[in-house]
Structure formats: structure tokens, C-alpha cells
């Protein structure tokens, strides 16, 4: 989509500058970069775009520009000026945070009272609360604390036509009205701009310990991993790292200090005779390292939890035969990050192969990072849901002029 025929990009910039101030509306890379100061200015910006039918890409820290289908919108709306933790009710263990706050800045504020949003997303120093919610990112802590759909209590959102709406609330328990914040979470900015998020909080894990178990083939982890998850140990995080030379399981437990030794003994028994050692906290950077690495393709795969070891082990073996190098990491909840180094053709084949392997069990594979030559021949989302028409209808109702991130989401929504 381009600007409306009667409006040049400079005209658009001038108008937006009248809303947000001259220094916050720039012409850059054939688009207007606009940074509203508050929710009212977000609403005015969107209303202008809506009235003139100009596409808008909302953004936070700009850490995941390649996720989803590419969008070339004439307006890029940044939430970077809305970055305060507006409220931290530590006795109630809730907080309200503006969308442009970086994850780390928010956590630092909450840590003053020993609390946290129990989620460990990618690029926490740069990624923003709104951006993380828009793509529904999550890391290793999700096993114990759930994902954003379990941690977000409410939101303030701005719709495509500038309507400001609140959903949910600030209390942990609330079933009044529809949970629109669940709809917004993971909607990739296609339904509205997230302006503020209310979270439930947890105490910071004070006493934790991490252990690792190694083996040459991830398939060897299947039985002990099942035993661990069936046991009454409550780990905070469990991840499986799969590489050609060596595979590992990492386990983190938070508990009262004198119970940690007891947990270690139990774990060692469960994983015997595999090599079991205490590990450094750095192993929990493994997912981030995959995203920071120089890989051609990065996939988010969602698998049935009991199948992660075998699926990844088989993938590794098949890939090796086709000249594809694989580094993978799976959480025990079934969410995996898979990095490929390969030429375009075998990389695309590898993705299709994996999709075929997991489809039968309801699994999915989304390509978060792809070289341009592969994009054309591979659907980024791999979504064949029979609910796509319903999703399109929701998009139509929320954004009838298709101005918010048009085409970025599943089924080119």
C-alpha cells in the first residue's frame, strides 16, 4: 500500500509533525518515522493514517524486523517515547507499563521490590514490552510460569481508526468481558497498537541452581526427561540443546536453599548413567545465542513435549545427509528454536520436511528469519488452520482499511 494519491510522503510527514512535534517525524528510507509522545498522539497518528488509508507499521526496539512477511509501510510508528513503568503495586504483585519500555528497564524497576514479570524474552535490553507482546515471545521460564497469555492482565490498545480501548484490568482474577489482550498478544501489530500492558508479577527466584546432562544423541534424553517431568520435582526451566557433536539437557530449579542438594540427588538418579554436572547460568543464554549467530534460517517450531528429543534427533540426521547444518534448542514445553546453515534449496526442503513431520500431531513451524531467495518459495507461517477465514474476518472488523501491518501475519492478514 502507498500513501493516498493526493498525499505525498512529505505532506504526510508535515501533518504527523503537527501531531508529535517536528523532531519526532522524520523522512527516512522512503517512509515517515513517527514517535508519538503519548497514547493520545498514537490515536491521532492512526486516525490520520486511517482517514488517508496509509499503511502503518508499529514498532518498539526494532529487534525483530524480519519476523513475519515483509511490510513496506509509509508510516513507521515507534512507541519509544512511551517507556515508563506507570504503576508498580508490589503488595498486589501487579504493574502497568507503557509499551515502549524495554524489558530490562521494566525488570530493573520491578526488582527494586524483589519482583519480576516471569518471562525471559529475546534481546531484553532493546526489545520493548509492546513488541514482545505483539510477537508473543517467551523463553525458558515459560515452563514454570506460563506464557504472556498467562501473565498479561490487561492492556490499553489503539485501534486502526484511533479508538482507544481498555481490555482486562489490573487484578489477577477477572472474567468481565472478552479478553482482547489475548487476541492482541501475538497478533503482530495487525489489529491495533499496544500502548500499555498490565502484568501479574512473581517474586524473583532467589535461590536457583542449574545442572546439565550431556549425551551424543538427543534421543537418549527421551526416557529420563519424561521421568523428570512425571516426577514431583518442579523445575523453573528445562531445555534440550541439540548439535552434531554433543547434546545437552539443562535444568534450573529455584527452591529454598537447603532443598537444592536434595533436588540435585534426585536429578542425578533420574539421568543416570548420563553425565550429570552442575552448570553455569550462562547456558540459559543458548536461545539468545542462536538468534545472535550468523545463521541463514531461524525457525520457531512447536512440538508435542514428549517428541522433542526424537524429532530433533531425526531432523539432525536427515539434515546432515542433505548438507544442512543444524543447531537446535527446545524447551521441555515443546517450543523449539532451530537454526540452519544451508543453501536456499536444501534449507527450504528442510523446513518443509520438518513441517510434514510435525503436522500430524498439531505442531507448527514458523520461519522467523529467512534469506530473501527462500522467502518466495516458502510460506513463512506454514499455517493451514481452518480458522483462517475467521481470523480474516476479525482483521476486517478491527481494521477495515487494512492499514496496520498489512500482509505481515498468517494467510497474508
Amino acid at each position: 500500500m502507498s500513501t493516498s494519491p493526493v498525499l505525498s510522503l512529505e505532506d504526510a510527514r508535515l501533518h504527523l509533525a503537527s501531531i508529535v512535534g517536528e523532531e519526532f517525524a522524520d523522512l527516512r528510507d522512503n517512509s515517515v518515522a513517527v514517535a508519538p509522545a503519548d497514547i493520545g498522539q498514537i490515536a491521532e497518528t492512526l486516525r490520520f493514517a486511517y482517514d488517508n488509508q496509509i499503511a502503518v507499521t508499529p514498532g518498539g526496539g526494532g529487534t525483530k524486523p524480519g519476523w513475519g512477511n515483509p511490510v513496506a509501510a509509509p508510516i513507521r510508528l515507534s512507541t519509544r517515547r512511551l517507556r515508563s513503568v506507570r504503576e508498580h503495586s508490589w503488595h498486589d504483585m501487579t504493574c502497568s507499563v507503557e509499551a515502549g519500555a524495554t524489558w530490562s528497564a521494566m525488570q530493573a524497576e520491578l526488582a527494586r521490590h524483589g519482583q519480576m514479570v516471569a518471562l525471559d524474552p529475546l534481546w531484553p535490553d532493546h526489545a520493548t514490552v509492546g513488541g514482545i507482546a505483539a510477537v508473543n515471545d517467551s523463553g525458558a521460564l515459560r515452563l514454570r510460569y506460563g506464557g504472556l497469555r498467562d501473565l498479561i492482565l490487561g492492556m490499553t490498545i489503539v485501534l486502526a481508526d484511533g479508538t482507544i480501548a481498555k481490555t482486562g484490568g489490573k487484578v489477577v482474577k477477572n472474567v468481565a468481558g472478552y479478553d482482547l489482550h489475548k487476541l492482541m498478544t501475538g497478533s503482530f501489530g495487525t489489529l491495533g497498537v499496544i500502548a500499555e500492558v498490565n502484568f501479574r508479577l512473581h517474586p524473583i527466584e532467589e535461590h536457583t541452581r542449574t545442572w546439565s546432562v550431556t549425551a551424543t544423541d538427543a534421543a537418549q534424553f527421551s526416557p529420563p526427561l519424561r521421568a523428570l517431568l512425571d516426577s514431583q520435582i518442579v523445575p523453573s526451566c528445562v531445555q534440550v540443546r541439540v548439535e552434531r557433536e554433543q547434546c545437552a539437557v539443562d535444568i534450573r530449579i529455584a527452591a529454598v536453599p537447603h532443598c537444592l542438594d536434595e533436588h540435585a540427588d534426585r536429578l542425578e538418579k533420574i539421568f543416570a548413567p548420563l553425565n550429570f554436572t552442575a552448570s553455569a547460568e550462562e547456558v540459559w543464554q543458548a536461545r539468545q545465542q542462536l538468534f545472535d549467530g550468523d545463521y541463514a534460517v531461524l525457525l520457531k517450531a512447536s512440538l508435542l513435549p514428549a517428541t522433542i528429543c526424537t524429532v530433533l534427533s531425526e531432523l539432525l540426521q536427515r539434515a546432515a545427509c542433505n548438507g544442512v547444518e543444524i543447531h537446535a534448542l527446545a524447551q521441555a514445553n515443546g517450543l523449539a528454536t532451530i537454526a540452519l546453515t544451508a543453501a536456499a534449496e536444501p534449507a527450504a526442503a528442510c523446513v518443509e520436511d520438518l513441517r510434514a513431520a510435525v503436522r500430524g500431531s498439531g505442531g507448527s513451524v514458523v520461519a522467523l528469519q529467512l534469506p530473501d531467495e527462500v522467502r518466495g518459495r516458502l510460506d513463512v507461517w506454514g499455517c493451514d488452520s481452518d480458522a483462517l477465514p475467521l481470523m480474516r474476518e476479525i482483521k476486517r472488523r478491527f481494521d477495515s482499511r487494512q492499514i496496520l501491518n498489512p500482509g505481515r501475519f498468517v494467510g497474508n492478514i
Partner: protein
């Protein structure tokens, strides 16, 4: 009203024995757990499969007949109240557990499966289904999905939505769609998350994939008697401030204790505020933390502290708590159950204000609440035989909800809005908020036939635009009426 043609089409959809039209039999379905609203439906259908549900909904869609789905009818907000002359779809016959996958920690059930049966089925493998509304021995998973039911243990384990992975849904146009997946983060909008808690207004769930949870190694329940609910409330704040996340934190006031004792003889200590704390997890951790809970209770002046010594004792403690609503019948001819939520820290001032408001109209209010998450269940006691008292009691109960909203809370924590709290929803949310929710409603149900005239303060037509209220063209033309 349903015509002979409608009835014939419904019969064709579910067969002779799946259709109820006799007025005396229809009466069974005229209300749910909120008995002061009653409407006789035009027909009740009892489908046995998703295909039969589809066939019924297609009949409704074709003729624009409103339909209301119904599980066990235990809801407390009138969500399953029939639409006048409409169709009630009872899911009672769709009660099979279809799949149990322990390795992947999920079960697949039909909507008519009773909540407690899910746990019974997976208990031998050491697992349980966490949401535990007080009616769990009779209420159904389909109803739990509609209401996003909670229960005493959702403080730690979350609500129905936390445990719902996927849904098969018959949309209000009769189409069958699959939302979510047994795996996490299925690509696309989180329609499962939106559907759970939508109170039957977006379609009929015909197949539900639920997460199950590993049973903890030990469970310990402590009872602490205090002089007032406020002192019990302070202990709750201290427990949370100490960084603990108990699986349940409940408070009962003197009136509730009296009623529960009369009903089930749970051997509660008689006191002004009874605190019930349940901790679960690895044995050594629970023991350590329980010592802390005990110390905090003593610090706040607990006059008696008991730990349930056996599973039987623990069950009895919970039986008393879960019977608290029904037990009100022992101390009052009639009562209204409310379901407000407040930030935990507002507890002392809200309780004091409720007491003041009740005294001002000469009524008693008993308080039972999920203190950990600030979910109050004020029980307004009254006598219907005294002229005008029911109206006063209803008014008081609604004012208590407004009080919760004024204190930064919600009008409902687990019972749903239903028929009862439609107007209160308008107190909690602004017109643009409600119009935005309506966008979802209209995407699922443009004809407004799925449980119409529930949840929202006033029915809208789907052609309306969100934003400040503007009259619909049909309304302006005098063709349709908005009320």
C-alpha cells in the same frame, strides 16, 4: 416463537429422543444457578455429536433463532438463561473423554464431561486437572470454558483459559473450526484465549483439549483463627510479601463459618476471620514454608492454628469451604452471591465499606473470599417474604460491585457477567471498550444469535461502528430499536 417447521427441522437434526418441547419438561431448563431469572425456551435439543450440534445451529442460523448452550446449569450469573422462544442446546449427552495423553500432558474431552471426572481419569498416572470451581462434582468442562471458571486453587494454577490448549467450535453460522492446538503457540490469532470466557456468545465448543498438571508431592492445609477478616487479610499480605505462592488462600468471616458449620460440620474454629492456607510441592519445601506461614499467623494474632493431619481432614476443610454458598440457606431464607474482585491491598477498606453499606439498609452480608487473588464472594442475606427486601438486597449487591470497580477491581472474578451483571459491565468499561469487544462478537456471530442479550449492557447491531455511540441507520429510520 418456534414454528412447526422449526421444530421439525430441529427434530431432523437430533432425532426424536434428542428434542424436548413439552412445557413441563422445558421448565427444567428455564434457569441456571441464578434462579431469580427464568425464561421458558421454545425447545431444548440434546445433541450427541459435533455434527448434530452443527445441524442444530444451522437450523438456528437459517431462521435467525437465538440459541443458548448449556452444560450442567450450575452457572451463577444467568449465562445459560434461555432466550425467550429460542433453542437451548444441552451438551449433557456429549460426555466422553476422547483421548488421554499423559506423556504430552493433555486430555481431549467433549463439553458435557464433568470437571471432577477429568481428574479422576488421570489421577492414577499422578496428574490432575487444576481448575476446581466449587461445583466441580457436577459442572461441565463446556460450561467451565464458557465462563473461564476458576476455583480456590487458581491462585497458583491459573484458570480454565490457562489449561485450555485447543477447541473445536461450532460457529454461529454452523461451520466447524479448530482453534489452537495441543502444541503451544499455534500460528494465528489466539482465538482459544478469546473464546474461553466468552460465555457462549461466540459459538459452541464441541471438543476441548485440556492441559493436565502433575500432582504435587505433598499438600498441607493450615487453618488459622483470627479476630477479624482484616487480621486474616493482613496475614495473606504477609505471606505474599514473603515471596510464597500458596496453592490456595481463603478467608471466611463469622457468618460464613457459622453457616458452613451448620451445613457440613467441618470443625472450623469459631472466630471473626478464618484463614485457610494450602501449600503444595516437594515435601521439604512445603514443610519449611509452612513453618513461615505459622509464624506469620502468630505474629498477626491468630488465636488457634491447626494443620489438617490427614487427607480426610483436608477434604473436610474444603467441603466446608466449597459448601459455603449453599450453606447460607441455614442462616437466611434467601441470599445473593456476588463475585467482585479487588486488589488485595484494598481488602480492609472494602470490607469496612461493605459492612457500612449493609448496616445502612439493615441487611447482613457474609463474606467468603479467595483472598490470595482478591476475589470476594459477598453473600447478601435477605428474606424475600418481607416486602421490598429483595430489591434492597439486589441494589446492595450491585453497589458492592461498583465499589469493587471504584477500588481498581472487577465486577466478576469467575462467575461471569451473564444476564445478572450486564449493566455493571457498562460501569467497568467505557463505550469504546465495549464497542471494541463487540467487533469480536460480530466477527464470530454477525446475526447475534449465540446467547444474545447477555454480557453486554445493550445489544448492538453488527453494522455499528466502534467509537462513541452513533445511532444505527435502521434505528434512525425507526425500523429497529436499540435499548
Amino acid at each position: 416463537m418456534l414454528s412447526h417447521t422449526h421444530i421439525a427441522e430441529l427434530r431432523a437434526a437430533v432425532g426424536h429422543d434428542g428434542l424436548i418441547t413439552a412445557p413441563n419438561q422445558l421448565q427444567t431448563y428455564e434457569c441456571d444457578g441464578l434462579t431469580n431469572f427464568r425464561v421458558l425456551p421454545g425447545a431444548v435439543v440434546l445433541p450427541r455429536s459435533a455434527a448434530e450440534v452443527q445441524a442444530v445451529v444451522r437450523v438456528c442460523a437459517r431462521h435467525k433463532i437465538p440459541f443458548v448452550s448449556r452444560g450442567a446449569g450450575t452457572g451463577l450469573s444467568g449465562g445459560a438463561l434461555p432466550a425467550e422462544g429460542g433453542v437451548v442446546i444441552s451438551l449433557a449427552r456429549m460426555n466422553r473423554i476422547l483421548e488421554v495423553d499423559i506423556a504430552n500432558r493433555y486430555v481431549v474431552v467433549e463439553p458435557g464431561v464433568i470437571n471432577a471426572h477429568v481428574t479422576q481419569r488421570v489421577a492414577p498416572s499422578g496428574y490432575f486437572y487444576a481448575p476446581d470451581p466449587s461445583s466441580q462434582s457436577v459442572c461441565t468442562i463446556g460450561g467451565n470454558v464458557a465462563e473461564n471458571s476458576g476455583g480456590a486453587h487458581c491462585l497458583k494454577y491459573g484458570f480454565t483459559v490457562t489449561h485450555t490448549l485447543a477447541l473445536e467450535v461450532v460457529l454461529p453460522n454452523g461451520e466447524l473450526v479448530n482453534l489452537g492446538s495441543a502444541t503451544l503457540d499455534a500460528p494465528g490469532y489466539d482465538l482459544t484465549g478469546v473464546f474461553v470466557g466468552s460465555e457462549g456468545t461466540l459459538g459452541v465448543a464441541t471438543r476441548i483439549t485440556l492441559r493436565i498438571v502433575k500432582r504435587p508431592e505433598v499438600v498441607q492445609t493450615l487453618l488459622a483463627a483470627f479476630g477479624s477478616p482484616q487480621a486474616a487479610g493482613q496475614t495473606v499480605s504477609d505471606i505474599i510479601a514473603a515471596g510464597m505462592l500458596p496453592s490456595a488462600l481463603e478467608i471466611m468471616d463469622a457468618l460464613s463459618i457459622e453457616a458452613a458449620e451448620a451445613a457440613v460440620h467441618a470443625h472450623y474454629p469459631m472466630c471473626g476471620g478464618l484463614l485457610l492456607v494450602e501449600l503444595d510441592g516437594p515435601a521439604s519445601e512445603v514443610e519449611t514454608l509452612m513453618r513461615e506461614v505459622r509464624a506469620l499467623s502468630e505474629k498477626n494474632g491468630a488465636t488457634e492454628i491447626r494443620v489438617a493431619q490427614s487427607d480426610e481432614e483436608r477434604m473436610l476443610v474444603w467441603k466446608g469451604r466449597k459448601a459455603a454458598f449453599a450453606a447460607m440457606g441455614r442462616i437466611s431464607p434467601n441470599y445473593i452471591v456476588q463475585d467482585g474482585v479487588i486488589p488485595r491491598t484494598a481488602l480492609p477498606r472494602v470490607l469496612a465499606e461493605i459492612e457500612r453499606m449493609a448496616a445502612a439498609v439493615n441487611l447482613r452480608v457474609a463474606n467468603v473470599f479467595h483472598a490470595g487473588d482478591g476475589n470476594l464472594h459477598p453473600l447478601v442475606l435477605y428474606d424475600r417474604s418481607i416486602e421490598g427486601q429483595e430489591e434492597v438486597a439486589l441494589d446492595l449487591s450491585y453497589r458492592i460491585l461498583h465499589l469493587c470497580v471504584d477500588n481498581g477491581g472487577s465486577i466478576t472474578g469467575e462467575h461471569g457477567v451473564g444476564k445478572e451483571k450486564q449493566e455493571a459491565l457498562g460501569y467497568m468499561f467505557t463505550e469504546p471498550d465495549l464497542a471494541t469487544m463487540q467487533l469480536v462478537r460480530c466477527a464470530f456471530d454477525p446475526e447475534n444469535i449465540a446467547n444474545p442479550d447477555k454480557v453486554f449492557p445493550r445489544p448492538r447491531l453488527c453494522a455499528e461502528k466502534p467509537g462513541p455511540y452513533t445511532p444505527h441507520p435502521l434505528e434512525t429510520a425507526g425500523v429497529a430499536e436499540i435499548f
